[in-house]
Amino acid sequence: MNILVCISPVPDTTSKINFKEENTAFETLGIQYVINPNDEFGLTRAVHLQQKVGAKVTVVTVGDTSCEPILRKCLAIGADQAIRVDLQPQDGFQVATQLEALCKKTNYDLIITGRESIDYNGGMVGGLLAVHMGIPYVPNCVHLDLSGNDVALEREIDGGKERLKSSLPLIVGAQKGLVEEKDLIIPNMRGIMQARQKPLEVVSPIEVTAATLVEHYEKPPEKGAVKLVDAEDIDGLIDLLTNEAKVL
């Protein structure tokens, strides 16, 4: 069984977001890139399946050489091999099209993306790839069980959960719940040493233009100071929320 886990490198969640070149580009100076948290839940589930059913786990990133430390970390977590598609993508459409080319060369039984990347919050790569491949997609996936070719899944929906079934091949959009926070694998020394020996293949991108281009960035307007209400003056708070903010 072949599993492909798609890894989006994103700025560490504590990053302060700044822009350069007259607000036309993201300032990457001083930004630490990490594995997109949703993808990390997916990778962990893949490594569990590798141990349980003997699956082979490949991680892939569409990105330039700066992404390689992230891929090495994925190998240290337990992936068997890594692929980097050598292109700095401009949008999710470009990513999905590159991944499609890759999936048409090798058959993957299960493809795992994250629910969304937490930088551009597109939430689109998995769905686009699924339609391009003609296979099903389950986003917000919080449960995935394999038995032979059959898959039992759960998707988080607003106010509840949905149970689904499908057969392989299939794409899921991972998030917290697919595995728990405490199950995340922190690479140990042995894993890090092994990762250095594992294959990291660089493939050339195919020709494809982006569907969208970001022209300009802006930061939210500065916020005014908080209005403090005395802890004894609950009526004062209710009054402000009713008459000033008009939200009650």
Binding site: P139, D158, R163, L164, K165, V214, K227, V247
Partner: protein, 317 residues
């Protein structure tokens, strides 16, 4: 040519997000001088859309007992969009809306633009403001495609009533293209969901333990609000994952967000920032949440919240 919006419903009744999408779609259709077309599934109250100036409503019947099916729904909507030569298609930012958007975009060779927070500033090519970096910033995106699928952030546009008398049409339900099947839905029907709520009441580690959550639930119940929590609270199992809000949890864009015993870490704030009014109750005046909030009380949650619940209850009667 047309603008198409997908109207989400629950038990045949169009949800509030549907009215917001219709209001937004009307404004887009007016700017383009085109018709506004709605698509809903198994709707029982098609008249409720009348005050939103919709021209045509396709009401699609699905077999009895069938569940939301993103593949068949998106194929059905894509079919209508092609037939009506839609230039813009709007979906919500709910779990289902964000599921459909990318599928629709691939089926129609359209661009998909998530987290849209305003009307497009131009149409050919389309250019629109979106939030990014989980609400830490915005961008202006220029589409390279003729047809565009926009996912509108909830509460970003609001409701805009006007006269209308919608023409209701039917449309066959598209066949499945994959073998994915929904087998059951487990939904807490008595609770407001975070995505649908006008008010969200959220608790953090400051509440000390799950046994104190009646404070959050009682306050939410007098306000008809949804309940939410910080990440560590769900990681420790005090509350279900589905209540975890923030950069790595659910986004919140309610009218009012009340945070109790939540410190206001950057990852928490990122996810709730687009809420209109934020209130913090925290006993530490240095808690970062006070820098992000509109109103705040420095005080002990165990003293302040019961009083707040009492006063709000009294006010209701």
């Amino acid at each position: 040519m047309a603008v198409v919006v997908y109207l989400e419903s629950q038990k045949g009744t169009i949800k509030k997000t549907g009215f917001e999408l219709a209001s937004y779609g009307r404004a887009v259709a007016d700017a383009l001088g085109e018709q506004l077309i709605g698509v809903g599934f198994n709707l029982q109250d098609t008249k409720s859309i009348n005050p939103y100036g919709m021209d045509v409503l396709y009401n699609v019947d699905t077999p009895e007992g069938s569940f939301f099916n993103a593949d068949r729904y998106s194929s059905t909507i894509a079919g209508i969009a092609s037939k009506e030569k839609a230039q813009v298609i709007v979906v919500s930012s709910s779990a289902d809306g964000r599921y459909l958007g990318p599928l629709l975009s691939a089926k129609l060779d359209a661009a998909f633009l998530s987290n849209v927070v305003d009307l497009p500033t131009q149409y050919s090519p389309l250019k629109v403001k979106r939030s990014c970096f989980t609400n830490k910033a915005f961008n202006r995106t220029l589409s390279q495609k003729e047809c565009n699928i926009l996912s509108l952030s909830s509460n970003a546009f609001g409701l805009n009533e006007q006269q209308g008398d919608v023409e209701v049409r039917s449309e066959p339900y598209a066949e499945a293209t994959t073998d994915l099947e929904v087998t059951a839905i487990d939904q807490a029907t008595d609770k407001v969901s975070i995505a649908d709520a006008d008010i969200v009441v959220s608790g953090g580690r400051g509440l000390k333990g799950p046994e104190n959550w009646h404070l959050i639930e009682d306050l939410a119940s007098v306000l008809d609000a949804a309940t939410a929590c910080s990440k560590p609270v769900s990681d420790m199992g005090w509350r279900p994952h589905s209540e975890h809000v923030g950069q790595t949890g659910k986004p919140v864009a309610s009218n009012l967000y009340i945070a109790i015993g939540v410190s206001g870490a950057i990852q928490h704030l990122a996810g709730i920032n687009s809420s209109k009014v934020k209130v913090v109750i925290n006993n530490d005046p240095e808690a970062p949440f006070f820098k992000a909030a509109d109103y705040g009380i420095v005080g002990d949650a165990f003293e302040v919240v019961p009083k707040l619940i009492e006063k709000l209850k009294a006010r209701k009667h």
